[in-house]
Amino acid sequence: MLTRLTDKPKKTLSKSERTIRKEKTVSFVVLFIVTILWMLPLIYMVGTSFKSDYDLQTNPSGLFPSAGQWTLAHYKSFLSADSDAKIFYWLGNSLWSTLLHVGLTVLLDLLTAYVLVFLNFKGKEKFVKLLYLWMAVPGVIGTAPMFAIFAAIRNGLEISSDAGSYAYIFFWIVMPGVSGIFNMLLMRNFFLSIPRDIVDSARSDGASNFKIFTKIIVPLARSTIMLIVLFTFTGSWNSLNWPQLIFSGEAQKWWTVTIGLTKFTDSQAAAAATGVAMATSVFAMLPIIIVFLFTQSKMIDGLASTGIKA
């Protein structure tokens, strides 16, 4: 009886299986081509960074240097102290400010979402409603006034020392966006899906809020944390508009990587400059690529499964 029931659909399956196999072949071919196209710019970048000046002139269409023309000269040139590119300063600035920004964002989101979901107090729902409404307000409206506030406070505080200016500028690089609504609501939505019984029973066992938060909630939220880290890390590392305003007229070694590299986006540059630009980009990309290689599988899965619940 049972076997007959399972036999029947098997026959129809084999037919659809054949179409599936055909589709698989098509998808394999298409994706293979797309993948090669997608890798082309990156391969070109890495290859060009190793071309000698002569090869850059004579072999512009080659993805890799021609035989005997491999060189590390461009890497040496931008790593030397008198180079235009203050790449180590830029990487340092980007790294610490991005990590601080990500850390603060995650902490604040965890704390706020916990308060909004597991604590009871007056006005909670109204606050969430307000945040949902505010999410529709484009941030561009606040850019000009924020820049004005930035300048006004700086004048008011009369910051003159280098260290003071540096700290002040990076305060304004790190802090805006820490209270991003989208990420916080993402965390809140995840917390809402945690059965309340877990928290209630822990509470009746005498666990404090702090203990519930650190021992139960945070471990459960790991995948959402990963997702927020991904969003804020790439967002902060790649942010262009706001840092551009803040850094206008500041010393170059205070820049972040993304700002610094815009100096090299010149399609009419001489051959030698092309090599240096490519070498600098490769070097600047390394940290992100390394992080990506180790986390990409988890990252993509997290984005795929949690992103849709936002």
């Binding site: 997608w38 060009t48 307000v137 006034p145 006004a152 305003l245 599988s297």
Partner: protein, 355 residues
Amino acid sequence: MNNLELMQREMRKSKRRKNAVGYALLAPYVLIFLFFSVIPCLMGFVFSFMQYNPIDSSKNMFVGFYNYAHLFDFTNSVSLKFWKSFATMFLFDIVMVPTLIIIPLTLAYLINLHPPGYKFYRAVIYLPSVISVSVMGIVFSKLFAGDELGFFNALFGTNIKWLSGKPFENDILRWVVIFIASVWWQTGTNFVILSGALRNVPKSLYEACEMDGGSRLQGILHVTLPNIKSSVGICLFNTLIGYLGLYGQPYVLHAVENSIDQEIVSPMMFIQYYLKNASFVNMTGYICAAAIVFGLIVMVFGTIERKVMGERKRTDKYSAAYKQSKQDVEWGLSLKGPAQDIQSVGGANNVNSIN
């Protein structure tokens, strides 16, 4: 009586304490949110009605709707620049935004067939999304360099001036390059979100559709599309808002003739240009007005997108039937259908329990 009163007082006390704890823990977020989001926006609103100079406050005064009138005065060259940049950006978006849904959706569909090595393809297609816009600019400006040193010109022996021309006049080739670069750079995020959505469509729905004699196309129309609609809506919204605020791509792929800071082909570039230059500092009020008008337009588009995606609800009969059968299984009322169906329901159950 006395006891009850005491209890009530005690309860009120604990309630007040609960409120206090809640407010205290909420305070950091609220303070940062107020200072970096709410106050700047409110100030922007006020500034837009003022002649405002943040450095020299002696001439600050309220001017009513002067800034707005100025912005809509098309004879003024600065205001004209704003609207021209808006039109350019908008034309580009009409092409760009649908492309950034269609290409990722196609790739997501293909990746979900799980051809050999799909994890590798997935990683490669997603990779450009984590690369910074300036690196993207460096690579693509060299790939499409207008002289014989450009990769594509050298490869095909052509001499096409890709990144050249004047904004609003003859820079169509440059927009082609920006388009290609944007597809390469930003397909990843939507691709990953959409492939997750496709993966989460319960398999049993397709089987149900197939059993009803539905063709493959009908399966896509009646099962796939309704089930991934909310994800498509999210992607569309993010992409639309992102590309209305177009800034980085034209900035790093600027035309040869223009210096990098003179390029104004989108409203964000307009705002950025006049903010960054200290010589325009007494135009802050005007820029705030422009930002508010632009922001309102963005809001209108966002609302339209939400309305369109929210209201066009297709009747999703398989999903409804599936929910019913799932309920039946859960209640143990009936165990109809072949054994494998129950299995797939159980499998999909895990997916749905996250919701």
